[in-house]
């Protein structure tokens, strides 16, 4: 509740009044059921297009990915239209493959680092923004907006240019600063180095959303709470623990959860830099799924990988939704 109100009363960059009408004015605004058959059917008629679309374009693929994961489906079977059931073969293939475990571990480490760094930095910047002089804050907000708005493929291209081996501005700057060994240094010669650059790119583009959301949450915290803490002689850290933290905890949990979902699924940036290379060292689960399924046409095996990805994401989502529904129950 508090998180909702705070995000809505706060306009990130300053003085324009919030455009939304105050959202939560009380629970029920449902229309009484009326007599006529049309009136009773109306909500279902309104929902029908969305429902059909979701069942067809999301529900069916979800069923289909499970079914496909129990089939042997390579290019031959696909062209001939054969249906060959193989039971759990695809799963044993995937789970016995050492590379799968290596890739899974890499994906988890990558996701956790990127989420941790971007949420931490986002919170730090949000806290910083509160103490900045207004013109500095606006400058920072405009700069973050530029990073946020850049399409992923554009920013990936720019990062490729900045990290270019011979003419990239980063290597040239490092050489200017006296680190001569960076002349002609390749940032993409190993998987961990490649993923670090990709991670930096993702963090750089993720921070603005996080900082804006958290700042909006911070601005909404009533001033008198801070005044009270000041009168009680609380240190900055105590103020943060006792006043700020409880007020933004649910918002922080939400953006952390969203970031986890987004960063786990990253494909474009990793693929465009080195197509999961060099020699597969920057391959993550979404890249592995693409390589198996689309590049090698092993659709059954790839579907098994997809299912395993969905299980991981599903567990995270379930945990989060359970918490969300516990706190917000009765308002759905």
């Amino acid at each position: 509740m508090t998180a909702v109100e705070t995000t809505e009363t706060a306009a990130p960059a300053g003085d324009i009044p919030p455009a939304l009408p105050p959202a939560v004015t009380g629970g029920a605004r449902k229309r009484r059921r009326r007599g006529s058959a049309f009136d009773r059917a109306l909500p279902y008629l309104l929902l029908a297009p969305a429902l059909i679309a979701i069942l067809w374009l999301i529900g069916w693929p979800v069923v289909s990915v499970f079914v496909t994961s129990f089939r042997q489906l390579n290019l031959g079977e696909l062209v001939r239209g054969e249906i060959v059931w193989t039971g759990l073969d695809n799963y044993t293939t995937v789970l016995q493959d050492e590379r799968f475990w290596e890739v899974s571990l890499r994906t988890v480490v990558f996701t956790v680092s990127v989420v941790g760094a971007s949420v931490g930095a986002g919170l730090g910047i949000a806290l910083l923004m509160r103490v900045l002089t207004p013109w500095v804050r606006i400058a920072l907000q405009i700069a973050m907006l530029c990073a946020w708005a850049m399409p992923i493929l554009a920013s990936t291209t720019v990062y490729q240019w900045m990290f270019d081996q011979n003419y990239g501005i980063l290597n040239k700057t490092l050489v200017q600063l006296g680190f001569d060994s960076f002349a002609g240094y390749s940032w993409f010669s190993s998987g961990s180095s490649t993923l670090s650059v990709v991670g930096l790119l993702i963090i750089w583009q993720a921070i603005p959303f996080l900082a804006f959301s958290l700042y909006a949450g911070l601005v909404g915290i009533p001033r008198d709470l801070y005044e009270a803490a000041g009168i009680d002689g609380a240190s900055p850290w105590q103020t943060f623990r006792a006043v700020t933290w409880p007020e933004i905890k649910s918002l922080l949990m939400m953006v952390t959860f969203l970031s986890t979902l987004w960063d786990f699924k990253v494909f474009a940036q990793i693929w465009v830099f080195r197509e999961g290379g060099p020699s597969g060292q920057s391959t993550t689960l979404p890249v592995l799924q693409y390589l198996e399924g689309i590049a090698k046409s092993h659709f059954g095996v790839a579907a098994a990988i997809s299912v395993l990805m969905m299980v991981i994401l599903g567990l995270i989502t379930f945990q989060y939704l359970r918490k969300l529904l516990q706190t917000e129950e009765g308002k759905i």
């Binding site: 998180a3 229309r31 929902l47 910083l128 720019v158 200017q176």
Partner: protein, 272 residues
């Protein structure tokens, strides 16, 4: 006082960090041909030319992929908004059996991991004979954005007191007219914010655009730009000019709704 100026210095340093790639993209795009690939230290450009933009604009594939991207994105978002708003109104204005399940379905669908549905989507589009056809992308982007639109718009509709509509109906409006004259105009800002967010999602999408479309004539802009090295070689000036042209529509939309967007996304997601 000292503390405050230290904070301001940190703030300005961060602003530079966030701004630099944009600055570097634009200045590289404005540099004359010979002076991009150079070992000189050239942080500030001394001569400016627009020839890179002409190069990018006239590269084979740029205009057609720009057109494809616009067509696919706008069609999908329009459909998602229209269908999303009817669902949002149903969820927020009516009491009916199964309403809670619908709302929950929408919430879960919004979090569906689309990337993990790549294989079944590919197989489905192939079965429907839509593989290599832009309508397959329209369908995917529509499906990606629809639950988000419905869910977020529901939050915005909830924010408009139903009493306003009821007052209009007392004054003799029908239900549709009351919605059209009262709720729809108040929904304006929410509609803009929601559609821009959906637009950005579809405008950015890469994986499905790469998998479902193989032929060059039907490529969207992200896929075309990902292969810029085939188009530009090491012509970084041209590649940066193309990136600028790709960024402009997104940036314009962003600036229109920036303030409402944060509120929209978080409010829509939290509000049960």
């Amino acid at each position: 006082m000292l503390k405050k100026s230290a904070a301001n210095v940190a703030g300005l340093a961060l602003a530079l960090f966030f701004l630099f790639p944009t600055y570097w993209m634009i200045t590289t795009a404005l540099k004359p041909k010979g002076s991009t690939i150079t070992s000189d230290y050239d942080l500030i450009p001394f001569s400016v030319t627009f020839s890179n933009f002409v190069t990018a604009w006239t590269k084979p594939g740029f205009l057609s992929s720009l057109g494809n991207s616009l067509l696919v994105t706008l069609t999908a978002v329009l459909a998602a908004i229209v269908i999303g708003i009817t669902a949002a109104v149903a969820m927020s204005r009516f009491a009916f059996r199964g309403r809670k399940s619908f709302v929950l379905l929408m919430l879960v669908a919004q979090m569906a991991p689309f990337e993990a549905l790549l294989i079944p989507m590919f197989l489905m589009m192939r079965d429907l004979q839509l593989y290599e056809h832009l309508s397959s992308l329209i369908l995917v982007y529509f499906a990606v954005t629809l639950p988000f639109c419905a869910w977020t718009l529901r939050g915005f509709v909830n924010g408009i007191p139903i009493e306003l509509e009821e007052a209009a109906m007392v004054d003799g409006c029908g239900r549709w007219k009351a919605f059209q004259k009262v709720t729809l105009p108040l929904l304006g800002p929410g509609l803009v914010a929601t559609s821009v967010f959906a637009f950005i999602t579809a405008w950015n999408e890469f994986l499905f655009a790469k998998v479902l479309i193989r032929s060059q004539d039907l490529e969207t802009l992200p896929v075309w730009l990902s292969g810029f090295q085939t188009a530009f070689g090491t012509d970084w000036g041209g590649a940066m000019a193309a990136s600028v042209l790709f960024t402009v529509p997104a940036l314009v939309f962003f600036l229109i709704v920036q303030r409402k967007m944060v509120a929209g996304v978080t409010a829509g997601a939290v509000k049960g």
